[in-house]
Symmetry: C2
Subunit: 492 residues, 2 copies
């Protein structure tokens, strides 16, 4: 377990890549752009999944599972969606390998086993799902359909980075069908709100809720809502999206229903998703030069206990005390690991748990046994104190809540200090280069201006925030009239 | 919701297919051999997942995630494994589609986007995982590795059936690495035992634990342990397998470690899995001509409450009582659905819940309100009784335990009465044709005899049971000496 982590100030991107690997979260695999999510990283993802799943079910959704493959003819049915994903999809063309006659012991694709129709590995599942919904929906009585799927998807990205952009990633995708436009829009907004609450209350990541501009919309959507987070290096990260799909997919797949008045109409749709990309947001919101910092809600274990001993008798005495302490903490719903490995020294253990972001560390040695104390260290502040073991459960329980809340407040303060209102393009460029973060500026509403600004600065419009007030102004680039400010940033 | 289910006695296979679709468990999709798992079916699968996941973690395993794709060169590394799966795998050859110049609005594979090396969609993950473990294992201190993965896999089966044999299916696959042969064998046996406990205690499916013959082994395994269940139609179903892989994969991927004595050795391996096939076993163990019968442990909701009313006032009065009853049951950890849909009549609701196997149904009407009673119906026995609403929580809680246990006992009695010892081949054939079930017979231990019997009768050796006693005998087919009986059956 070598630490030697690159400092964030020296090379943020290198720091990120090293941290992901050294903290045992994920690593690159033998397959270009595909990652292996290691047990420690996966345990964090499982905690996200469990909480999101709870929230989806609490809002009336059920899980289901649809095929991994999308036949090409279905894939191309919704034109914009197809156009958006065609350039980066994995295509299955054959269903068998055979011995290679020219290469003893090697296999090759069997040319006889070519599929009549190619199968696209799903980059997203609207096509296969709406083709299925067609068979499920006849009448208003069959609506709404409120379904979520936990799945893997594949997008053949050219430049990949662990968690942030990988060819295969894990996600959930909600796909709902409604009788009215208003109901579908309400669902779109509701799920974006669910994502925001999850990010803020569970992951301690402050986010801005808003709507995407036309050019940043999901391919096939009428409107894309999103939550945008700000990373420590001043770049934004889109943490979740919720799309109002109008009747686009219903029309592409001919999904109609008889409404209460007996009239036939196309069904209204939404889709919404978050992915293992959230792991990237988590890391780049809270972590520091010592490694990962985890909000207690997401920590695979919230407390690690390290025994400090020289003799077997000492370890035995410590273990007796720790066993009681561990059960007592667990009874208070605190997850605890007793790290009694005899293959590593305490120093190495401290370094590892710091690197892996365990919120609280308890060290206990023979002196502590005499005094009825332990040493308690906070990962987020890197502070230590000696505390009495008596009543420590309550102290730890309180501290975990404090850490969860402190992490959010710290990230929020950073985010708030990194939203800059600018009113001319020099300030825009200057702020972007020197300070980073979100730039709140007027925009004339055209895709042309948006593209121009992106070409010149690499900044994109992250969203039109829900709470952006209507006010007359002039576009920061063209000077043309604008009715509200939008948020620009460089983004992951 | 049309019932009209084919009777099992008329056509068991048709009954099964109809039941899966009509009970809203799953359906075929637009992709050949791939199914859609519908919300009700998926909710049952989620219950299986949760319990298995708990059991895996209780035995020290962690979850992780490995890539969907296996590069061809890795896929072919372990020769027997490759040979076993090469004939039925989906192969990705391209990573982009483009507009078809000959076909306006259509897409085609972009010939420029051919992969340098083809990717196999994982049919199982030993290859990609052992190629990863190579980087994780240097010393005995890195062992054991105890990892499980929840994932989708693809095997291009020619003849598919919902849940039982599908091109894509969901499963879990455990992959463990050990320092010693003994430890790996113990792990193989432990996980087979975990599967047996899960099947019997949680799914109420009696199983026989045993070991596969060489010809029925997993491709690449030294030994395959399994649990075998018996379906109502007298055919066996392999419900789970646990493989001792020896050093085969460690050798194929060159995974060595330094042991405590400082010597280099190849790592020992196991893998084990169960899949959505268990849904098929569940259906064919407990269900009847009226539809699905669910053990309470697996029911998405254990109790359904149907109001019987003519006026809105009646519904209101019933709802008031039901709300209290529902919370009170939920406080006793009983899951309840109040089916107050006004779009269906009570008769249609009864039929649907019977078809979907809800363990207990409560009907409550105005008379019941007067008398302080409800009508309580058991799905497994199709019996009804009028009971007092007072103290009903305890009665229901007890009844659910009784149903769980009764279902197991009923299936066990059926299984026990369908293990037939035979000592000559005429009896063998006769029993197989007239009675079905497991046939316990002596076998000379050769693959030749096994194949011959399979050709003549379609029966295969399901397993050599753990508890098969060593006794001298003569092979039921060749008359050659045999040292123990094995279990034959026709199988799914």
């Amino acid at each position: 377990m070598s630490k030697n982590l690159t400092k964030r100030a020296d090379d943020y991107s290198k720091w990120y890549n090293e941290l992901v690997v050294k903290a045992d979260l994920a690593e690159n695999s033998a397959v270009r752009g595909c990652m292996v999510i290691k047990p420690y990283g996966y345990a964090i993802w499982e905690k996200m999944q469990a909480e999101l799943d709870r929230m989806f079910k609490a809002t009336g959704h059920q899980n289901a599972y649809f095929p991994l493959f999308v036949p090409k003819s279905l894939f191309e049915a919704e034109e914009k969606n197809a156009e958006g994903f065609a350039k980066e999809c994995a295509v299955v063309t054959h269903y068998r390998l055979q011995n290679d006659p020219d290469n003893e012991g090697k296999l090759r694709v069997d040319p006889e086993a070519k599929l009549e129709e190619e199968l696209v590995v799903r980059p997203t599942s609207e096509a296969i799902i709406w083709n299925t919904y067609k068979g499920w929906i006849q009448s208003y009585r069959d609506l709404p359909i409120l379904i979520n799927q936990w799945a893997n998807v594949v997008r053949w990205e050219m430049r990949t980075r662990l968690f942030l952009r990988t060819a295969e990633f894990l996600w959930q995708e909600g796909h709902t069908a409604h009788a009215t436009e208003a109901e579908a829009i309400a669902e779109t907004e509701q799920m974006n709100k669910v994502y925001a609450e999850f990010a803020e209350n569970f992951m301690a990541i402050p986010v801005i809720k808003g709507v995407k501009t036309e050019s940043e919309r999901f391919a096939g959507a009428v409107d894309t809502h999103c939550i945008e987070a700000l990373m420590q290096d001043g770049k934004a990260l889109q943490a979740g999206t919720s799309h109002f799909l109008g009747q686009n997919f219903a029309k592409a797949f001919d999904v109609k229903f008889t409404n209460k008045e007996g009239k036939l109409d196309h069904v209204w749709a939404t889709s919404w998703g978050v992915s293992t990309r959230l792991m990237g947001a988590l890391i780049m919101t809270h972590s520091d030069d010592q490694g990962l910092v985890l909000p207690p809600n997401l920590a695979p274990f919230q407390v690690v206990i390290v025994p400090i001993y020289k003799s077997d008798e000492q370890l035995e005495a410590i273990t007796a005390v720790v066993s009681k302490l561990k059960s007592s903490l667990e009874n208070n719903n605190i997850s605890v690991k007793f790290d009694d490995r005899d293959t590593y020294r305490p120093g190495a253990k401290f370094a590892q748990h710091e690197l892996q972001g365990v919120p609280l560390r308890i060290a206990i040695g023979p002196k502590d046994l005499e005094n009825g104390t332990v040493e308690l260290a906070r990962r987020d502040t890197l502070t230590k104190e000696v505390v009495s073991i008596e009543g420590i459960e309550e102290k730890i329980s309180d501290l975990l809540k404090t850490i969860q809340s402190d992490l959010f407040q710290k990230a929020l303060a950073f985010r708030e200090s990194h939203i800059t209102e600018v009113d001319n393009f020099d300030d825009f460029k200057n702020t972007l280069e020197t300070k980073g973060g979100f730039i709140s500026a007027h925009w004339d509403g055209t895709a042309e201006t948006e593209t121009k600004i992106k070409e010149l600065t690499k900044a994109t419009i992250r969203c039109i925030p829900y709470d952006s007030k209507i006010e007359a102004g002039n576009c920061v680039f063209t000077g043309n009239p604008s009715k509200q400010r939008v948020l620009f940033a460089k983004a992951y």
